[in-house]
């Protein structure tokens, strides 16, 4: 134990799914827990997933030492409206996706190059003017970050990212 605390803590990034009752203030409880206890939120998505049961699913990407991540899971689990907490990074194989809208403005060769790269990333233009595109791109967070980086010299104006959603592989639910 003593040695473990002497070494430099290893920071990991984990993706949690939290199934909650969709009651007033439930998101504030989760977010307040993170800010109150000093945990990081790298991204967060939330929406109702079962309108008859009124449950919402929150996906949180967070980072910390393994000890902190274990605490995050336990602390979320003890919030009263929480049904389940799953850590996709350790519990079972999962896939994670994110969507982004990326606005690029330019003319001439840069504009052609932007369209060419977008095609390679399977990003599709959802708004087009003579001087700009808005691309819709879906994929892993890394893929989106790579795409954004490539758009930088080609007239990147702004980005809107959804944050990560994740689900387990195979037939079983979370």
């Amino acid at each position: 134990m003593a040695e473990a605390q002497m070494t430099i803590p290893k920071i990991e990034r984990h993706t949690f799914a939290v199934l909650v009752d969709n009651e007033a203030g439930v998101l504030a409880r989760v977010v307040g827990l993170f800010s109150g206890r000093g945990y990081n939120i790298e991204s967060l998505t939330v929406a109702e997933v079962d309108p008859t049961e009124h449950t919402s699913r929150i996906t949180i990407v967070t980072s910390g030492t393994p000890e902190i991540l274990e605490q995050i899971r336990a602390q979320i689990g003890r919030l009263v409206p929480v049904h389940r907490v799953v850590d996709w990074t350790v519990d079972k194989p999962s896939i994670a996706r994110e969507m982004a809208l990326v606005k690029v403005a330019g003319i001439g060769e840069k504009r052609v190059e932007a369209l060419r790269i977008a095609d390679a990333f399977r990003a599709r233009p959802v708004d087009t003017t003579h001087t700009s595109f808005v691309f819709e791109i879906t994929g892993s967070p890394d893929k989106i970050s790579n795409f954004v980086e490539l758009m930088q010299p080609l007239g990147l104006v702004e980005i809107s990212r959804t944050g990560v959603v994740a689900i387990s592989r195979g037939p079983d639910p979370m």
Binding site: M1, A2, Q5, D21, A24, A28, V80, P81, V82
Partner: protein, 586 residues
């Protein structure tokens, strides 16, 4: 045929729900946004309402009531400042796991969000200092929420909850359903222990050479049966027991296995035994920083078993070898049963050596102090108070500071629920209103708040409440004119620069008692102390006791900030170099 729910107003539902949950006493303060509930209360003859003088007092009184009875404490306050004044008490109850249902009024639903008069975001403000809270927006939800509030406050790891009820909802009529019809959608606290974990734990205990029970408030919260089970387990195994501040009384201080409290102002024997043990059996405690001292030097050679009803406590501060998530009472009973079933015997020779070592630590007599014939030493005052009230039906509350630690060290408890103190939050001003709550529940008992003159002034106004309700609480003030614990730390850590820790002026507590309409008693010399204490005990009215003590006495033993369990200071003469890292700690 399903019976039709009875029609009533929201305010009447509140009163009905209180009755359905066997509430007999509530502590509160009226205001605009709770007037309909107060109107319904006017007709409720079987509910005793105690009108406090400040909402913080209501919450602490409800805490004292809850802690001394094992029941849920209930408070009723108005919107805005009523709710914000309750916040300190809520945070206090959350950290000490005290079951409270606090009802707050709110402006009418159509005014919410308009910065209306006495509006505040009560659920937003109280979210991080409650176990759960609700804003009731529809009369149809009110009965369910009230029942869930009691369930969540009192089960699992207990804690405070807030139900925020807008004024229009209190007036609206709806159907009332009883508690038996409510099943919570998500809340499922664990009670029964995993038997494999119990078997493994008991096996580890049977093989231990230097074991120790480290017990906490979880045993008190689990009810008197948990304390009984603990006593049996200790007798069976012969292991030494120490306890946190919150757990005092679960194991009797008169028991021969008792090492005294552990932690920053714990005993030398308890802390050294924690440091040197090979098996730590933590029962309903949470490895608080007051208990562990320097974390990387905390009990380095031991295996650790941790029993807690709250899974988030496992591995929070200290790595645990064997967790048990369960109610403390049921788990300890299961341990007793398992020990007997396997017919285990503790390792006698190893345990004998361990007790010899403990005897050597005890021989340090770490609670001894230099007496005086001229001045009342605060330790002497507590010792006399203990001796002169021994054998009586006595409950003790405290404020926060040196007097609290001296009380914890020197006032010995043989039963649970007799000791009410603010452990986690360290709330000065807790003890006086808490004593009122205790006295309300135990009208014939002797209820004493061991106080400091600093803390007690924070909620002094509640003496007026005590007088109104004939609550004969005894406020025993160890008056050293200093904020003593602050002064002690300034001496030890800040070069004796006593920055703003001395009270140039204080009220004359005897005259103040007179002004409140209660009894004032003062003792300034050791020779007059016994008679004064006896007088206090005999008075059947509230008492302010001004016990004028040595101004510069420090509280020892002490683990200085950033030090380990085996690096205790026993007196002022001990070297107390505190590291820079230690100075950062509170």
């Amino acid at each position: 045929m399903i019976p039709q729910p009875k029609q009533m107003t929201g305010a009447e539902m509140v009163i009905q729900a209180l009755k359905d949950h066997d509430v007999e006493h509530i502590f509160g303060y009226p205001g605009g946004a709770v007037l309909p509930i107060y109107d319904a209360l006017f007709a409720a003859n079987d509910l005793v309402h105690v009108l406090v003088r400040h909402e913080q007092g209501a919450i602490h009184a409800a805490e004292g009531y809850a802690r001394s009875t094992g029941k849920c404490g209930v408070a009723l306050v108005t919107s805005g400042p009523g709710a914000t004044n309750a916040v300190t008490g809520l945070a206090d109850a959350l950290l000490d796991s005290i079951p409270l249902v606090v009802l707050t009024g709110q402006v009418a639903t159509h005014l919410i969000g308009t910065d209306a008069f006495q509006e505040c975001d009560t659920v937003g403000i109280t979210r991080p200092c409650t176990k759960h809270n609700w804003l009731v927006k529809d009369i149809a939800d009110l009965p369910r929420i009230l029942h869930e509030a009691f369930q969540i406050a009192t089960t699992g790891r207990p804690g405070p909850v807030v139900v925020d009820i807008p004024k229009d909802i209190q007036f609206k009529t709806g159907g009332y359903i009883g508690p038996e019809t409510v099943v919570h959608r998500t809340y499922r606290p664990a009670y029964e222990p995993d038997m494999q974990a119990i078997e493994q734990a008991v096996k580890m205990m049977a093989n231990a050479k230097r074991p120790i029970f480290y017990t906490g408030g979880g045993i008190i919260n689990a009810g008197p049966k948990a304390s009984e089970a603990l006593r049996e387990l200790v007798e069976l195994t012969g292991f030494p027991v120490t306890s946190t501040l919150m757990g005092l009384g679960a194991y009797p201080a008169s028991g021969d296995k008792w090492l005294g409290m552990l932690g920053m102002h714990g005993t030398y024997e308890a802390n050294n035994a924690m440091h040197d043990c090979d098996l730590m059996i933590c029962l309903g405690a949470r490895f608080d920083d007051r208990v562990t001292g320097r974390m990387d030097a905390f009990s380095p050679g031991s295996k650790k078993i941790h029993l807690d009803i709250d899974p988030s406590q496992i591995n929070k501060n200290v790595r645990i070898d064997l967790p048990i998530i369960a109610d403390a009472g049921r788990a300890i009973e299961a341990m007793v049963k398992e020990w007997k079933f396997r017919d285990y015997k503790a390792d006698r020779s190893a345990l004998g050596e361990w007790w010899e070592q403990i005897t050597r630590w005890r021989a340090k007599r770490c609670l001894e102090y230099r007496g005086s014939n001229e001045l009342i030493k605060p330790q002497y005052a507590i010792d006399r108070l203990y001796q002169l009230t021994k054998g009586r039906d006595v409950y003790i509350t405290t404020e926060v500071g040196q007097h609290q630690m001296w009380a914890a060290q020197r006032f010995h408890f043989d039963e649970p629920n007799r000791w009410m103190t603010s452990g986690g939050l360290g709330t000065m001003g807790y003890g006086l209103p808490a004593a009122m709550g205790v006295q309300m529940a135990h009208p014939d008992s002797l209820v004493i708040d061991i106080a400091g003159e600093g803390s007690v002034q924070m909620t002094m106004q509640e003496m007026s409440t005590a007088v109104q309700y004939n609550l004969p609480i005894k406020i025993f003030i160890l008056n050293n004119r200093y904020l003593g614990m602050v002064r002690q730390w300034q001496q030890l850590l800040h070069g004796g620069r006593y920055s703003h820790s001395y009270s140039e002026t204080l009220p004359d507590f005897v005259k103040l008692a007179d002004a409140f309409g209660c009894v004032g008693i003062r003792a300034t010399h050791p020779d007059e102390l016994d008679a004064a204490i006896n007088k206090m005990i005999d008075v059947k009215r509230p008492v302010l006791f001004d016990c004028v003590v040595d101004q510069t006495e420090n509280c020892y033993p002490m683990i200085p900030s950033g030090a380990a369990h085996n690096e205790m200071l026993l007196c002022d003469a001990d070297d107390h170099a505190v590291s820079d890292a230690g100075k950062l700690l509170v």
